[in-house]
């Protein structure tokens, strides 16, 4: 019985190195809790080495009732729908520009939210199915059930009908990801939505208040405004905490000049419903963070994007002794993604002090599996990981921000080279001529090695990827200067 197990198992587990055989027959070699970017990559990789693997994935519906299929946040309510909707907004802008390039059309250009959302959801549906097929083809067992630890090496899986099953495994991988945080004020869960709801919202959100200044908040506010909606962003203090602030402010300025309203240094304290509907009308009351001023506003939709919390508090980690950061819920791991319990590992957004990005989770997951089952030794490199924020003016970055570089190396030891540029495609339609910007941060003491790359402009993601590879190779300023540019493209800067 599980009780008897508990007495002698913990000692045995601590003594046994995760790599030697344990004298127990388990149902599976590996059980992965969470079918997102990290979990699925790891599961498929383990199956390649002939291991018996199971994936448990379950989406607890949002307060508004939204739910989705296999694939995790990125596929269903993150990167994929976000980029598609960002593209929808860019196309709107392109249509406007096209007239200056000679395209003639007399109709007024309008946007239909339902048409876009349906197309995006159809694509996501095909991805969900693709993941099911991929798991099946890789002979990975999949259960749409909520997994939680009940004892050493044992997990309980509860499906949506409430049926429970117990499974045992030699090793476990926790890849449960995160969910949006709520404000904890009256009316938040009843009337507000989050990014979990936005991408499948069955009605146009209308006049929207976005609460938060994270990249999620700014990206959503950005494309909603690009689709023609009246958008306001309520910011408690700074924009894009953790990112280069010089760049963050430029992004904010651009959005403001292009129709997004900002309310700075206020937080909502109450949300009430004035009228039901799809969308309805909501009244938001907010208080200043610097004084006693109270303001009110009326919106059709309130989108909360104030942060994400790891799904680690209700999966029975206490039953198996996995330590988590009590304040943040994140799991500290060593540089081999192992928790304090030797047979339990973790990857993805739930890791403490690691980047919350899909490619990072996938890479960490795959390398972990290769170390466990294929004798590899390569560990995941979390340094110099490139990222892109898909705000209306896209921002790509790799390496240090200016502030962190100054802090680490000292202001006198770093040199920043920068320039504004005007994309050729923007000239004819007379779009902004001084908004696009690029800068590199170099370490003077190390041969002027490029330690930070930042670019603000169209297709920032595409531009940044190549430079990230160069930075990984240790490119210096001189090497960069010696590289002939491609003309006419933004990247030649």
């Amino acid at each position: 019985s599980v009780e008897a197990h508990k007495e002698d198992k913990p000692q045995k587990t601590m003594e046994v190195n995760g790599l030697t055989a344990v004298p127990e027959s388990y149902d599976y070699d590996l059980i992965v809790i969470g079918g997102g970017s990290g979990g699925l990559a790891a599961a498929k990789e383990a199956a390649k080495y002939g291991k018996k693997v199971m994936v448990l994935d379950f989406v607890v519906p949002t307060p508004q009732g939204s739910s989705w299929g296999l694939g995790g946040t990125c596929v269903n309510v993150g990167c994929i729908p976000k980029k598609l909707m960002h593209q929808a907004a860019l196309l709107g802008q392109a249509l406007q520009d096209s007239r200056k390039f000679g395209w003639q059309f007399t109709e007024e250009v309008k946007h239909n939210w339902m048409t876009m959302t349906e197309s995006v959801q159809n694509y996501i549906g095909s991805l969900n199915w693709g993941y099911r097929v991929a798991l099946r083809d890789n002979k990975v067992t999949y259960e749409n059930a909520y997994g939680e630890f009940v004892g050493p090496h044992t997990i309980k899986a509860t499906n949506k009908r409430g049926a429970e099953k117990l499974y045992t495994a030699e090793r476990f991988l926790i890849a449960t990801g995160e969910r949006p945080r709520y404000l904890g004020i009256p009316g938040d869960k009843e009337y507000c939505i989050s990014s979990d709801d936005l991408f499948s919202l069955p009605y146009c959100p209308g006049k929207t208040l976005v609460v938060g200044a994270s990249y999620v908040a700014l990206e959503c506010a950005g494309f909603l405004a690009g689709l023609g909606l009246d958008v306001t962003v309520m910011v408690r203090s700074i924009l894009l905490r953790g990112f280069d602030q010089d760049m963050a402010n430029k992004i904010g300025e651009y959005m403001k000049e292009h129709g997004v309203n900002f309310i700075r240094e206020f937080v909502p304290i109450k949300v009430e419903q004035i009228e039901e509907g799809t969308p309805g009308r909501l009244k938001v009351t907010a208080k200043s963070t610097t004084g006693n001023q109270i303001i009110e506003g009326e919106y059709n939709t309130v989108l909360l994007a104030i942060g994400r919390d790891p799904c680690t508090r209700k999966i029975g980690l206490d039953k198996v002794g996995v330590r988590i950061n009590e304040k943040t819920g994140k799991i500290p791991v060593n540089d081999e993604e192992q928790t304090n319990v030797s047979y339990i590992y973790a990857v993805g957004d739930i890791l403490q002090d690691k980047l919350e990005l899909t490619p990072v989770a996938i890479q960490a997951g795959r390398l972990l599996i290769r170390r466990l089952y294929a004798g590899a030794t390569t560990k995941c490199d979390y340094v110099n990981v490139p990222t892109t924020v898909f705000t209306p003016l896209e921002y790509g970055a790799c390496g240090y921000s200016e502030e962190t570089a100054v802090e680490k190396f000292g202001e006198e030891n770093i040199e920043v080279y920068h320039s504004h540029f005007w994309p050729l495609e923007w000239t004819v339609p007379s779009r902004d001529n001084n908004k696009c910007y690029a800068k590199i941060i170099c370490n003077i003491q190390d041969n002027e090695r490029v330690i930070g790359f930042h670019v603000l402009g169209p297709n920032a993601g595409e531009v940044t990827q190549g430079f990230a590879a160069a930075i990984k190779c240790g490119m210096t300023k001189e090497q960069l200067d010696n590289t002939v540019g491609i003309h006419p493209v933004c990247a030649e800067v």
Binding site: N76, N122, I124, W129, S200
Partner: protein
């Protein structure tokens, strides 16, 4: 695919698309039906005295929306010699997995409970007619 949106779409669809035993045009009456569950499939497809074409499709699949009606029309032309069963792979994932459906649309030709023919993707009316005639005749 997100559940809230799928539900709303279902509610907006014309009766043909609803999960109840659907009937097509008057010509297609009783020759096409939507599979309700595993035992329904067993009764009306596996144990069917007539040959059955099984159309595995999905709401998010564009080509399925073209093939479906076209196939129904060609089935109706066969004057009752063959019936057509429609299976939504998201609603009946177990069935889809059991019959090794990877991409949609996948159409199986079944006789006496056995899969005797199959194709994946869109076909034109002539190709469909040949497919059906082979199933009935063979």
């Amino acid at each position: 695919m997100a559940q809230r949106l799928a539900l709303r779409r279902l509610l907006l669809l014309a009766p043909r698309g609803t999960p109840s035993s659907a009937f097509g045009t008057s010509a297609g009456r009783a020759s096409t039906f939507n599979v309700q569950d595993g035992s329904d499939f067993q009764d009306r497809v596996v144990n069917s005295p007539k040959p059955v074409v099984v159309d595995f499709h999905a709401q998010w699949c564009g080509p399925c929306k073209i093939l479906g009606p076209r196939l129904e029309k060609m089935v109706a032309k066969q004057e009752g010699k063959v019936v057509m069963a429609k299976v939504d792979i998201d609603d009946h994932t177990d069935l889809a997995i059991e019959y090794e459906v990877s991409a949609v649309p996948t159409v199986l030709a079944m006789k006496n409970g056995d899969v005797v023919d199959k194709f994946v993707g869109i076909k034109d009316e002539d190709q469909l007619e040949a497919f059906l005639k082979k199933l009935i005749g063979a």
